[in-house]
Amino acid sequence: MSHSFDEISQQLKRRHRKSARLKWASMGALGLAGLFLVLFFADMLSKGLPAFQQAYINTEVRYTEEASRDGRQAFDQDLIPLISRTVVRVIPLQLRNNPEMIGTSEQRWMLATSEVDQYLKGHRNRLSDEEKAEIDERVAAGQVDLRFNKTFFGSGDSKIAENAGILSAVVGTIMTMIVTLLISFPIGVMTAIYLEEFAPDNRFTQIIEININNLAAIPSILFGLLGLAIFINFFGVPRSSPLAGGMTLALMTLPVIIIATRTALRSVPDSIRHAAFGVGCSRWQVVRDHVLPLAMPGIMTGSIIGLAEAMGEAAPLIIVGMVAFIPDVGASFTQAATVMPAQIFTWSGEPEQAFVEKTAGGILVLLSVLISLNAFAVVLRKKFERRW
């Protein structure tokens, strides 16, 4: 009662169509995921790139006697609402420090308010129609323009949108990461060495292993609770400080470094260990002089990736108070500081339109740092990739 090929093929048509549907669906799913990524980056770039430019007004600054008391006197009166308060404010200061400038005048590019900036970029703003007309006129005359935004990279946070910059967050991030790395790298590497090279295979080591795997899966915010309850409330580490944040992140980075180091150690072939034991090295000497150097590239790669992960982390840092308003670049590990993700978070909560762009600009800075770190890790791995 067997069927002929033709009969079977007839029935198969429907099934082949179904089968093809799965293929297309799965391809579509991957495409969709890719599309998300593209849309996401396009969105961030379109929102964030304008932040790297800022409106400036080219005008004559008159350093008169009056200006040394009231900075506004240095400018045309109709420009006052358009020029950033921050630059107006510093003029008396400047004149007090350099009295010989009084009486002179110069043509300068002055930082405009964020309203002007948003108007030029075609966003929502609160300028009156006269002000807009004034700006249009000056744009035509080449006196108002978008120029590279030095303030964004060169200064700290500010409540005045055009004056807000990412610098204090960048410095805070660097300091926090130093603390994180100083703690998690040695402890992580030592733990991995213990587990791979020294540990007997007993209950104790199993518990440690299970622990490490669990730590890697605990929600990051819980590390913040630990940091708050133990580091800050119990040990008295100053709240909001890079030290508190760094210590908290170190605990999160630890499992990443341990796992990466173990993989790296495991990939060193036993023959190298046996050879070293053979010439009378002790266990530690074998590890230090023969195994570790070979595993180092892998350890570095893993640590960089762990560091990049920590660098993007915000939740635990918010819990330990690193969302403070930090206008000045941090000077010590125990003073309040902020980090890039936290800065992004605070900016995103500002109601002013100009801060949307700042937020996205901060995101672009953070993403470029993370991408560079990961690319560096990849290059490192490629360069030292070895087959035994």
Partner: protein
């Protein structure tokens, strides 16, 4: 050791007003780092060698125990503060109460009112959390699983080597960035779409953070599923094809069921991620505890409340602050359970097919 001492000295210089307890802790840490360096530089004589070897073993063991300390540290800090909370408010009300209204306790802490009208019923918070997690899984599981199927069953090698790391990028994007994306870009889109259908959506709706969180956990699911599908023995596929099954039927009815424990395990891991995710919901979800089944309404989550109650200027001793730890405790227990179940499922899969690379 020397480095450790130097380190503490340095810290002393940095801030003279630092409390001693903290100094102790910090210098301990620095000392541990210093010891590692110091040990690495010792060039021992032969007799000293054994002693040094023993010291090193102790140091390494100590380092390894830090992971245990961390887990216990988390447990201890959360439990002890949570217990203090449960002294003020009943555990039962916390677990079953449907109103979360800590405002009164804030007044009580400020010396006004007795705080007795404060309510800490966590049900609406967990409802919000699970709603957003469910939306996230609804996005991530189909897309992640199908992507994995494409990569392991259909894609040419070249596509695979590109697609995998590209997907991983999704997992590497900081969550604060996703949060911004959800709040600024996705939420308005959702509101517009809902409006198009005549529905009223809040700008803090649960859909936007849910979808974005789903995008974030796609790689968690696709990556593990891909590994699992790849380790389903080829003989099983051939067995099905040899019966005259199409490739699609083979994948749907043989490969995926065989890989199911691993796939479930991946979904559980993703779920655990989503439950504990903080920034996306803090930035895109609502602040109002809201017990509703409508995902277009604003609702808040456990993690949002934890952040909210710890970032205000309240006293640490206030019930609202301590409630964060009670919420954290539940979160800890839930995610830990999910992770353990996930590990057990993967182990079962591994034993079944004797694969060791998972």
């Amino acid at each position: 050791m020397l480095v450790g001492a130097l380190g503490s000295l340095l810290l002393l210089l940095l801030g003279a007003d630092i409390p001693p307890m903290y100094l102790l802790a910090a210098s301990l840490v620095v000392a541990a780092a210093g010891l590692a360096v110091g040990v690495a530089q010792v060039k021992p004589h032969f007799h000293a060698r054994q002693a040094i070897e023993r010291v090193i073993r102790w140091v390494l063991t100590g380092a390894a125990m830090i992971s245990i300390f961390t887990t216990f540290g988390i447990l201890f800090s959360i439990i002890s503060e949570a217990l203090r909370f449960f002294q003020m408010h009943s555990f039962w009300d916390f677990i079953t109460g449907t109103t979360w209204n800590p405002g009164a306790s804030f007044l009580a802490a400020a010396g006004r009112g007795d705080g007795s009208s404060a309510e800490f019923g966590s049900v609406p918070l967990f409802a919000g959390t699970f709603m957003i997690t469910a939306i996230a899984l609804l996005v991530a599981v189909p897309i992640g699983l199908l992507s994995a199927v494409y990569m392991s069953e259909y894609a040419p090698q070249r596509v695979r080597t590109i697609a995998k790391p590209v997907l991983e990028v999704l997992a590497g994007i900081p969550t604060v960035v996703y949060g911004f994306f959800a709040a600024i870009t996705v939420a308005p889109i959702i509101v517009n779409i809902a409006g198009f259908f005549g529905l009223d959506a809040s700008y803090n709706n649960a859909v936007a953070p849910g979808i974005v969180m789903g995008i974030m956990i796609i790689p968690f699911i696709s990556s593990l599923s891909d590994d699992v599908i790849n380790s389903v023995p080829d003989s099983m596929r051939q067995g099905s094809l040899a019966l005259g099954m199409t490739k699609g039927e083979t994948i749907r009815d043989v490969v995926i069921p065989a890989a199911l424990p691993g796939i479930i395990s991946a979904a559980l891991l993703g779920m655990s991620r989503a439950l504990g995710e903080t920034m996306i919901v803090v930035m895109a979800a609502g602040m109002r505890p809201n017990l509703t089944a409508n995902p277009l309404e604003d609702m808040t989550t456990v993690t949002v409340r934890i952040v909210a109650s710890l970032t205000g200027d309240q006293e640490f001793e206030s019930a609202e602050t301590l409630s964060a730890f009670a919420l954290g405790l539940v979160l800890f227990v839930v995610t830990l359970t999910l992770n353990l179940v996930s590990v057990l499922m993967i182990r079962r899969f591994r034993e079944k097919y004797r694969v060791n690379n998972l």
